[in-house]
């Protein structure tokens, strides 16, 4: 069998981990989960291991109503922005839901994250599917999934237009004419979709990457449709290798990552024991994706046999920092990794820096 090609790696960090009982494990420091110190520690580990993406999850609802489970989250853009000056390499990808938030606010927040991270911003698009989320805004009722994803598609579309609405060289600082900007290089987007209208241009000048990376989770047909149309990076949320391969085949233009919930320990028995303990503390949490409870060796085996069309892994530690530490210390160093050139996220992914769609050809 040929040596496997280099893999892309994202990691999603959710408080003490995705398992709602993970905060009770030794080493979790549960009293610190809402502090900068917690996030700095995790980011330092991610950065040292040179992962491609650090994803900060988010939603407008509490994870659980029960007092035994971890609940509460900081705003994901806030966390990513906080980590921006403290990191140099890893891409920072907050989740921002598109359902109840204003597209204009979202796009300028992500463009600004690109500024403060010097070109390392991404945005993972999500939708809000529950009445609890709708009630927090009180603006509109819950809609079916296909409608939510169509609205999200409009949000991504308008964000990309707004990111292009300032051409690269719009700021001219021309002493002779007294102009700070060339207004011919600023463009209204005049967007009128099925869900909202936005005038534009953006209030925020064009960011270092021009277009920050758009990450889309794929879990059904509507989200797959958005990923196929708009994603730079797609995360496949399925435990079925066949379905992953089928989805990947429909995403020829995106970097495709397979989501894997991980609980890693140096011994197989230890990993299984921790998993059993977590489920005993807080039962009934079925995997949302592929789940791997095991050792560095067993996990390496999994990633060396990824389904066709999958470019890498979006690892979701069930516990933090435990599984992240094993992943970065024991798994990643022994896998082929791409050589990274450049400092922006687009450069890391080998993507060109796009020219604004509104830029006019200058006659030679």
């Amino acid at each position: 069998m040929p040596f496997p090609p280099p893999l892309r790696w994202a990691v999603e960090l959710d408080g003490a981990g995705r398992h709602p009982a993970a905060w009770r494990l030794p080493g979790a420091c549960p009293g610190d989960l809402f502090t900068a110190a917690h996030w700095r520690r995790l980011a330092a580990t991610v950065e040292a291991a040179d992962l491609d993406l650090l994803v900060v999850p988010d939603a407008y609802r509490l994870q659980s109503a029960g007092e035994r489970d971890q609940r509460g989250r900081l705003d994901a853009v806030a966390v990513a922005a906080h980590l921006a000056p403290l990191t140099r390499r890893t891409g920072l990808v907050p989740v921002v839901t598109a359902t109840h938030t204003e597209p204009f606010h979202t796009q300028k927040a992500i463009a600004t994250l690109d500024l403060t991270s010097r070109g390392r911003a991404g945005w993972q698009v999500e939708v809000s599917t529950t009445p609890a989320e709708a009630d927090l805004f009180g603006r509109k009722p819950v809609a079916p999934a296909d409608e939510l994803w169509r609205e999200a598609a409009e949000t991504v579309d308008v964000a990309r237009r707004l990111w292009d609405s300032w051409e690269d060289d719009a700021v001219v600082r021309d002493l002779a004419t007294g102009r700070y900007v060339d207004r011919d290089k600023l463009h209204p987007v005049d967007f009128a979709g099925g869900f909202f209208t936005v005038k534009g241009p953006s209030i925020t000048p064009r960011s270092p990457q021009g277009q920050p990376l758009v990450v889309v989770p794929v879990r059904d047909e509507p989200s797959l449709a958005l990923a196929a149309a708009q994603a730079d990076v797609a995360r496949l949320e399925t435990a079925s290798p066949e379905r992953a391969a089928a989805w990947a085949a429909r995403l020829p233009d995106a970097t495709v990552l397979l989501d894997v919930e991980i609980l890693l320990r140096r011994g197989a028995g230890e990993a299984a024991g921790v998993a059993a303990q977590l489920d005993a503390w807080s039962p009934g949490h079925a995997p949302r994706t592929l789940r791997h409870v095991g050792t560095p060796d067993t996990f390496r085996g999994l990633v060396q046999a990824l389904p066709a069309g999958v470019d890498g892994v979006a690892a979701v530690p069930l516990d933090l920092p435990g599984s992240l530490d094993v992943l970065t210390a024991e798994v990643l160093p022994r896998l082929p990794r791409p050589v990274v050139r450049g400092t922006t996220l687009r450069e890391r992914f080998g993507l060109p820096r796009p020219v604004s769609r509104y830029a006019r050809e200058v006659p030679a």
Binding site: L25, H82, L83, T112, V198, K199, T204
Partner: protein
């Protein structure tokens, strides 16, 4: 305790306004994070209370096209502040966020997040501008009548406070032995004309309980709102006498709203120009004013007042001979000119004639704002005088240069304020509330209030 009233200082990032000089060779980027970082680190070196960001949500227009003579565009307020929280340790981080074009649950959580990540240094400057022009960038755009702006602002704050209080003070238990992560998390239930929301806050109570609230707005409604809700008021009141009247008015309004007048910090925006001698400072100030009001800016300013397209007008000659066109609104996205424009034009013609000023010189004279001009000793003395006379509690300094415009003030004026006993020599607290000397944070009483807050 200090014998003297203490001066409070904030640092305004020089952004989209007529005072920011971008033509100076020393003027750096308006968007690179290094610019924000430099100003914030300088403010912290100067032991200032906070860093301050204004907000605009649509590019300004004049005569139907984007206004291109001042700095245009700005990064997102909250994102910049969260990044600055990582490179500062004590400095308060104050962000202007509009109450009209944001949802209460979302902003409440954003400011609570900033407060958590900064360890208690967040402030929200609540503004209300509601023009349909700005609204065109938003789903709910432009629908809010002028008279309803502060109705909504009050409701936004009521709902935000309910979210901030929805986790009890000890709700985050996080005790692995007990197996309890969080208890005492309450649902907010609010039904009002602007918001109909239900559900829990998504975060534990933040270090300050409630982030500090600033208010900027000067109508009667605006002052009432500030007196009832704000911890600090950002104003433009310049002279000592005007400042004393404004401050007395705001403190009296606070008392009528059941608060102590001392619960409010009154902080006018102010620029400053220093020199080794008074004459040199005046000369520097004159140079800066003419950089701020270039020939094109002078014409643009007159267009705003005259309501007319003045293409081809010579700013080095006399003022326009026609009277202002009162039917036209030529400028979009900025605060409306408050006075009778025909009357203003008449006054300015007389003023220019009496002094032999060109149109541009006239604009330089009438478009200025509160400025401290002098030697460091003079500026320190004047700032101290304002605060001791209760014309304000301090100032939000608006440097004219990005990002180095505050360096000289911190190096030369701050030590003199310290010598006068009017300014801290080290941070004595870690939160913005502590820096501002706010002894009665709203959350203290509300946290103990067992009554349900649902309407």
């Amino acid at each position: 305790m200090s014998a003297k009233r203490q001066v409070h200082l904030g640092a305004h990032f020089p952004g989209v306004n007529q005072t920011t000089v971008w033509r100076d060779p020393r003027a750096g980027s308006q968007t690179d994070f290094t610019s924000f970082e430099h100003l914030a680190r300088t403010a912290e070196r100067g032991l200032m209370d906070f860093f301050f960001l204004a907000e605009g949500l649509r590019l300004r227009e004049q005569g139907g096209t984007i206004y291109d003579l001042d700095v245009v565009g700005r990064p997102d307020t909250l994102t910049v502040l969260n990044s600055l929280a990582a490179v500062t340790t004590h400095l308060g981080l104050a962000g202007t966020i509009n109450a009209t074009f944001n949802e209460a649950a979302e902003v409440a959580r954003q400011f609570a997040s900033l407060d958590h990540l900064s360890g208690g240094r967040a402030a929200w400057n609540v503004v209300t501008s509601s023009d349909a022009f700005t609204g065109e960038n938003f789903r709910r755009g432009g629908y809010l009548a002028h008279a309803d702006r502060y109705v909504r602002a009050r409701e936004v704050i009521d709902v935000a406070r309910a979210f901030w209080d929805s986790w009890g003070p000890g709700a985050l238990v996080a005790d692995p032995e007990l197996g309890v992560f969080a208890r005492d998390v309450h649902d907010v239930g609010h039904h009002g004309p602007q918001f109909d929301v239900r559900g829990p806050g998504l975060l534990p109570r933040s270090p300050q309980g409630h982030p500090v609230l600033f208010q900027a707005g000067d109508s009667d409604d605006g002052r009432e709102f500030g007196a009832a809700y704000a911890d600090a008021v950002f104003t433009m009141h310049g002279t000592l006498e005007a400042g004393r009247r404004f401050t007395a008015d705001l403190r009296a309004r606070a008392v009528r709203n059941g608060r102590s007048g001392e619960d409010l910090r009154i902080l006018p925006g102010a620029s400053f120009v220093l020199g080794d001698t008074e004459a040199e400072a005046r000369e520097n100030a004159r140079t800066i004013r003419f950089q701020q009001v270039g020939p094109q800016q002078a014409v643009a300013f007159l267009e705003q007042v005259w309501g007319r397209d003045l293409t081809g007008f010579d700013p080095e000659g006399p003022l326009p001979v026609q009277d202002p066109d009162l039917t036209a609104t030529i400028a979009q996205g900025r605060t409306r000119f408050p006075r009778d424009r025909v009357e203003v034009a008449r006054e300015w013609r007389e003023l220019a004639a009496a002094n032999g000023w060109s149109a541009r010189e006239l604009v330089v004279e009438v478009s200025g704002r509160q400025q401290f001009v002098g030697t460091p000793e003079q500026v320190a003395a004047e700032i101290d005088e304002y605060v001791q006379a209760d014309a304000c509690d301090g100032f939000i300094l608006v440097p004219h240069l990005t990002p180095t415009g505050l360096d000289e003030f911190v190096d030369r004026v701050v030590p003199l304020l310290q010598e006068r006993g009017a300014y801290r020599t080290e941070y004595t607290g870690t939160t913005l509330r502590e820096h501002l000397g706010l002894t009665h944070p709203h959350d203290a009483s509300r946290a103990l209030d067992p009554a349900p807050r649902t309407a």
